[in-house]
Amino acid sequence: MLEISNLIKRYGHDEPVLQGLDLVVEDNSVVAIVGASGAGKSTMLRCINRLVEPTSGSIRLNGMELVSLRGSTLRKARRKIGMVFQGFNLIDRLTVMENVLAGRLGYVSLFQAITRRYPPQDIERAFTLMERVGIAQYSNKRADELSGGERQRVGVVRALMQEPEVLLADEPTASLDPRTSEQIMMLLQSLASELSLPVLINIHNVAQAKTYTERIVGLRHGKMIFDGAPADFNKEALDAIYGGIEAPDDEIIAEPAQAAKKNAKKKEVTDDRL
């Protein structure tokens, strides 16, 4: 269970990006987070695994407070939080297998990581998961030789290798064509129920959010303004979230591909350092 309470994130002295967010996600549920660019969706997800430092507030994963963690305890906690990225963020020059095994980096020693001597059960798990998503035949191919959909599958498998207790997906379909992005959404949905894993998906495509998730959370200017089932997500909710910001509503609803394309270039800039 993931519990976020009164989460605030402020960059410098600007208006806070997140203004006291509260959210509880039960196990085994898929939650879509929708909102216009700059609404704070990405910042919220990144606060959970601390790629972005929250200014204040509390985030608890299965009872463990994440906001106060430092150093190696933070790294240990991150192992339990899988993340899938918009730009896949694979290591292009390494093979698919190496990318997948990289999901175990929090568990293995540095020597094992450098020499690629991962424990046999990790390799077994890697093959099993790759077969599950249909990329096992590419295990020795370089990651940058794969198509977008295949690369995102590698990204998903890498996150699952961590044996996560929660999966965060930061616009996982925004760089993909409409068909492929539907497949990835379907995959995330079925993996969530197979592994009984809570999944948080940032998504611009409202139609996909309604189809593949059980709950929609709408953000605007860092505040939650909608939280409910996809069936309740009507035109008023859409107006409240995107009104005055985005193009005509029918474009968002009827042509998900276009909305996805429009936001494909968007990239969150963080001041985070290694």
Binding site: N49, L51, S72, R75, K76, A77, R78, R79, I81, G82, M83, F85, G87, N89, L90, I91, D92, R93, L94, A102, G103, R104, L105, G106, Y107, L110, A113, I114, G155, R158, M161, Q162, T270, D272, R273, L274
Partner: protein
């Protein structure tokens, strides 16, 4: 064309805007340059008489060097072998050592104090020309190849380290974030997310540095740091211009070959 004449409007013209917008500054800078050149040529002590005497002397030296003599081929070979050894060893050492210094000197992966230290090492090893460093090392460890190796290693650390650090600062940060998100430690993130991204650059720089060290090993030899440079200096010292000329020809040949090889390798890697 005639139509525009008919309506009596002047044709629109366009000129590229000047590089320096302010005309006073533009012509002022030009004037300063001209004045400087006149002053510099007027005040530097060119002794035209000596230059006119020197030209025939230069011709005599070149004449003496022609035809080049390969009689003492053994000496030539020994010198080149030593130069090659110096260059290869210094490149290997320098390139390996440049990696940790490059990481230290990259602002995005190093904390501020480490960054400053890394930058300092790179700036210091870049601030002197190899010949000056070679003079210092010859004084410190004596004549011979060791001084050459140390000199060129330092030179390689400075050059490769600086360019590599800049490369690290420009990597795709998303890959680093992805590795951090898995819970990987600092060094695992370096090995997985940073090194693969700078690998092609590293190989290219190493090839270039080998090339460059080969050239420099001849120069530092002149101040006593071993290799073909020492052989060349001795040949000049004994007025054996034919042998010196032979050495120069072989240096050119070796540089040409190494340039070709390194160019080919870099193209393959890119």
């Amino acid at each position: 064309m005639t139509a525009s004449d008919d309506d009596g409007t002047t044709p629109r013209t366009w000129r590229k805007p000047p590089f320096i917008a302010n005309p006073l500054l533009r012509y002022g800078l030009l004037a300063v340059l001209v004045i400087y050149l006149v002053w510099a040529f007027g005040s530097l002590p060119f002794n035209w008489e000596r230059i006119s005497q020197g030209l025939p002397r230069a011709a005599r030296i070149f004449g003496g060097g022609f035809p080049p003599s390969f009689e003492r081929f053994d000496l030539l070979l020994t010198g080149f072998k030593e130069s090659l050894q110096i260059a290869v060893l210094a490149t290997l050492l320098g390139v390996l050592l440049s990696i940790p210094f490059a990481v230290m000197a990259a602002r995005n992966v190093a904390p501020l104090p480490v960054y400053l230290l890394g930058r300092a090492v790179i700036i210091i090893s870049r601030s002197f020309h190899p010949v000056i460093v070679a003079i210092l090392f010859v004084a410190a460890v004596g004549f011979g190849p060791l001084a050459g190796i140390l000199t060129l290693t330092l030179y390689s650390i400075g050059f490769v380290g600086k360019l590599l650090a800049e490369e690290i600062e420009e990597i795709d940060w998303g890959q680093v974030e992805a590795m951090k998100a898995t819970g990987a430690g600092y060094f695992a993130v370096l090995v997985y997310a940073v090194f693969p991204q700078i690998l092609p650059r590293q190989v290219g720089l190493s090839m270039y540095q080998l090339d460059s060290n080969l050239r420099a090993s001849a120069v530092v030899g002149i101040v006593g740091a071993g290799g073909i440079g020492s052989t060349l200096m001795n040949a000049f010292g004994r007025y054996d211009y034919a042998f010196a000329f032979a050495i120069l020809l072989v240096i050119i040949a070796v540089i040409l070959v190494s340039e070709g090889v390194s160019g080919w390798v870099r193209k393959k890697i890119w």
